[in-house]
């Protein structure tokens, strides 16, 4: 019965992820931060599943599957961008300026 601490950890992890996405410039790091946020959510699901039923645990599998797919696509895009521009620093990638 560690619901309170579990939720606190996941909140901290999620906040770290958001901070990383907002503050970092390197696409890989941002990517990792997104994964961190997803896993923070997973932790919340698992923690709450203790009380609310098994559906939360099953949802975690879906999130992991989506995260894996996202990682596959996202890394492929980043590889392509790197080959093209020799950098993955997002400050240098702003072709869609209005």
């Amino acid at each position: 019965m560690l619901l309170g601490p579990s939720l606190a950890v996941s909140a901290v992890l999620f906040a770290l992820g958001v901070a990383g996405v907002l503050l970092r410039r390197n696409a890989i790091v941002i990517f990792m931060c997104v994964e961190l946020m997803l896993n923070a959510v997973n932790l919340t699901f698992v923690a709450l599943a203790q009380q609310l039923g098994v559906a939360g645990q099953i949802f975690v599998f879906f999130v992991m599957a989506v995260a894996a797919a996202e990682a596959g696509v996202g890394l492929a895009i980043m590889l392509a961008i790197y080959r093209h521009r020799h950098t993955v620093n997002l400050q240098n990638i702003n072709l869609l300026k209005g």
Partner: protein
């Protein structure tokens, strides 16, 4: 119930409409099929005349005291306003349809000869048929809106036919002038219609005229307002002061058009309207005084201008304006039958004069065309001595001249005398009419003078056309002289329609129109004067006419004229009359130019260019562009910024959801 022939009344206007459709199609598809066009154009008119004659005979057998109304379909059923497309035949409409189809048919026949060389032959007959259709709708309509359809329709056809040779600027301008001046009058007609509807709740002639004595206070402001607005419509259509200026310019159209539209039928629509609404005018002494006053003033004013015009058709145009003035004197005096009588006889002799002038112009034009001379075929200074070359035309035009001058026993004598007599009788109780009578008499003197002048300069004295051209002058073909001869017979005999009892007649037309004019007559009874006075008036009128003719013979020297090219410019009073009292210039200065100035400087340069284009159209575009520019500033292309915005957005949504 109406007899069988009467229920076919719709055929009368439908036949010219068929003619228009067929000729219009031919004009577009096969403009060279002149024989078919002639047959259809003239044939439908002759058939329409036959149908009209049958209908009128049916009406006469019927001894109807109320109009026979035929409702064909509900046209405007809108709440309180119920307008049916309905035609009505009564004694007044009967006279009008006979004149329109009868004189119209003769003029169509004349046109076959006059317009034969014209490339727009089919188009011409299509327009002419359409005109007759609308004119018949105008006189047969059983309520104001149907009449208004005809009223506008004849205006349209007038515009189309004045500008028939539209590749010359002056003709197109004349057409536009006629159309725009008529719009001013039509505005008056419309306002009168609205007023009538608000007062009576109906626009049917029968209902309105039956209710009028109860609804309108005699001499009240409403009756006067309605009649004055109606009369504004009449001044436009019937070319009275102040809206008469379009009619002389309308002479730019083909001459048979001038005869049919601008002399015999369309321009008399105003007189018809006043006679039709006689009840309303009888209820407004001020309204009818204005009608008679404007008529008398116009009769005299236009006659003075006709004294010094050189264009043969312009003389006749001003003469028409002047004669229409007479008709309004009759109608405004309450002598509606006299006004309509003059309308009929005027249709005969003025159509004859115009067609005669058409015959002259045809001959002149032919002569100048044959010798490739560039001279004015309508200027009387280029004519002279034509009686040797056009004997028939000359003789018939002399008959019409004597008729318009008022020499007995020709038609004009009876009708003009009746109007002047009625005006004089009215004067015994309303002294203002002495002035109208005197003006009418003065106009009669001038009429006799200027018409004799026209005949002298055109047909007498030495010929001034030119040595080479003289050989080409010849009488018109029978297809043109035939209608002239028939109109000549009508001009001689037309007076028999309404011989007054004073001269041993039975005043047939007056009795015939009694069912229509009776109500108005009872409201505004005619004044009787002693027989001796009447005889004196007749003698005076004839004396005046003879004086005018003899005066013209004495004063004018056709031998002294030189052709238009060599003629010195007019001076003094003659110049003032020749320039038409500078009324066109006056209108140009006080109306046309200010309107143009306001249109250009205010409506165009400020309202259109600045406000509509600048503020509304371009302003909307600029505002959109500004908002778009602001939005585009958010699109930095940097993922970081997007993420920040995204997070703010999520926080906002979550915050809203939690609250």
């Amino acid at each position: 119930m109406p007899a069988v022939p009467l229920s076919l009344l719709w055929l009368v206007p439908a036949l010219p409409l068929v003619g228009f459709v067929v000729n219009g199609t031919l004009a577009l598809a096969r403009p060279t099929a002149k024989r078919a066009v002639s047959i259809v154009g003239v044939g439908t008119l002759v058939l329409a005349f036959a149908a009209a004659a049958i209908a009128v005979a049916g009406l006469a057998r019927h001894h109807a005291t109320a109009p026979l109304v035929f409702r064909y379909w509900e046209w405007i059923p809108a709440g309180d306003l119920q307008v049916a497309f309905a035609l009505q035949l009564d004694q007044l409409a009967a006279v009008m349809i006979l004149v329109v189809t009868g004189v119209g048919a003769l003029i169509h026949v004349f046109s076959v000869g006059y317009m034969h060389e014209d490339p727009g032959y089919a188009r011409y007959f299509a327009y002419l048929n359409l005109f007759v259709f609308f004119m018949l709708i105008l006189v047969l309509g059983a309520n104001f809106p149907v009449m208004f359809v005809g009223w506008e329709g004849v205006g349209l056809c007038s515009y189309l036919l004045i500008g028939f040779w539209f590749n010359e600027q002056i003709n197109a301008d004349a057409g536009k002038k006629a159309f725009i001046v008529n719009r001013i009058g039509d505005f008056g007609f419309l306002v009168a219609m609205f007023l009538i509807f608000t007062r009576f709740g109906s626009l049917d002639f029968e209902t309105v005229f039956a209710k009028a004595p109860a609804v309108l206070m005699p001499g009240g402001a409403v009756a006067t307002t309605i009649t004055l607005f109606l009369f504004l419509g009449c001044t436009g259509k019937s070319a009275q002061i102040p809206l008469y200026t379009w009619l002389p310019d309308a002479m730019q159209g083909p001459t048979p058009v001038s005869a049919l539209i601008h002399a015999a039928t369309m321009v008399t629509a105003g007189v018809y309207l006043v006679a039709r609404c006689g009840v309303l005018f009888a209820l407004s002494p001020l309204g009818s005084a204005v009608v008679a006053g404007v008529g008398a003033l116009t009769a005299l004013f236009a006659a003075t201008i006709a004294l010094k015009q050189w264009d043969i058709k312009r003389v006749l145009a001003y003469s028409t304006v002047s004669q229409l003035g007479y008709m309004f004197v009759g109608a405004g005096t309450g002598a509606y039958a006299a006004g309509i009588f003059h309308l009929v006889t005027h249709a005969f002799f003025k159509a004859l004069l115009f067609l005669g002038s058409g015959s002259v112009i045809h001959a002149m034009h032919h002569a100048y065309h044959a010798t490739h001379t560039d001279a004015d075929a309508q200027d009387m200074r280029n004519m002279g001595g034509l009686r040797h070359y056009l004997p028939w035309t000359g003789a018939l035009m002399w008959i019409a001249t004597l008729a318009i001058a008022g020499i007995p026993p020709f038609a004009g004598f009876f009708s003009k005398d009746e109007i002047l007599g009625a005006a004089f009788a009215e004067a015994t109780i309303r002294p203002l009419w002495y002035a109208f009578w005197a003006m009418g008499l003065a106009a009669a003197l001038l009429t006799a003078f200027y018409m004799t002048r026209l005949m002298l300069y055109t047909f007498h004295g030495p010929n001034r056309t030119g040595e080479r051209e003289r050989a080409h002058l010849h009488e018109a073909p029978p297809v043109m002289t035939g209608p002239l001869a028939l109109l000549g017979i009508l001009t001689v005999l037309g007076g028999a329609l309404n011989v007054p009892e004073l001269l041993g007649g039975h005043a047939f037309l007056e009795r015939w129109l009694e069912p229509v004019t009776g109500v108005a007559q009872r409201l505004q009874p005619a004044v009787e004067v002693a027989h001796a006075t009447e005889w004196a008036l007749v003698a005076g009128a004839v004396l005046i006419a003879v004086l005018g003719i003899v005066g013209a013979f004495r004063l004018l020297k056709p031998e002294a004229l030189v052709s238009a090219r060599l003629a010195p410019p007019e001076r003094g009073l003659a110049r003032l009359l020749w320039k038409k009292w500078y009324v066109d210039e006056l209108y140009d200065a006080i109306i046309v130019r200010p309107v143009m100035w306001v249109s250009r400087e205010v409506l165009w340069k400020i309202v259109d260019a600045r406000i509509v284009d600048g503020v509304l159209v371009n302003g909307t575009a600029a505002a959109s562009r500004a908002v778009g520019w602001l939005g585009s500033r958010l699109q930095t292309g940097e993922v970081g910024v997007y993420v920040v915005l995204f997070v703010i957005g999520v926080l906002a949504v979550v915050g809203a959801a939690v609250r």
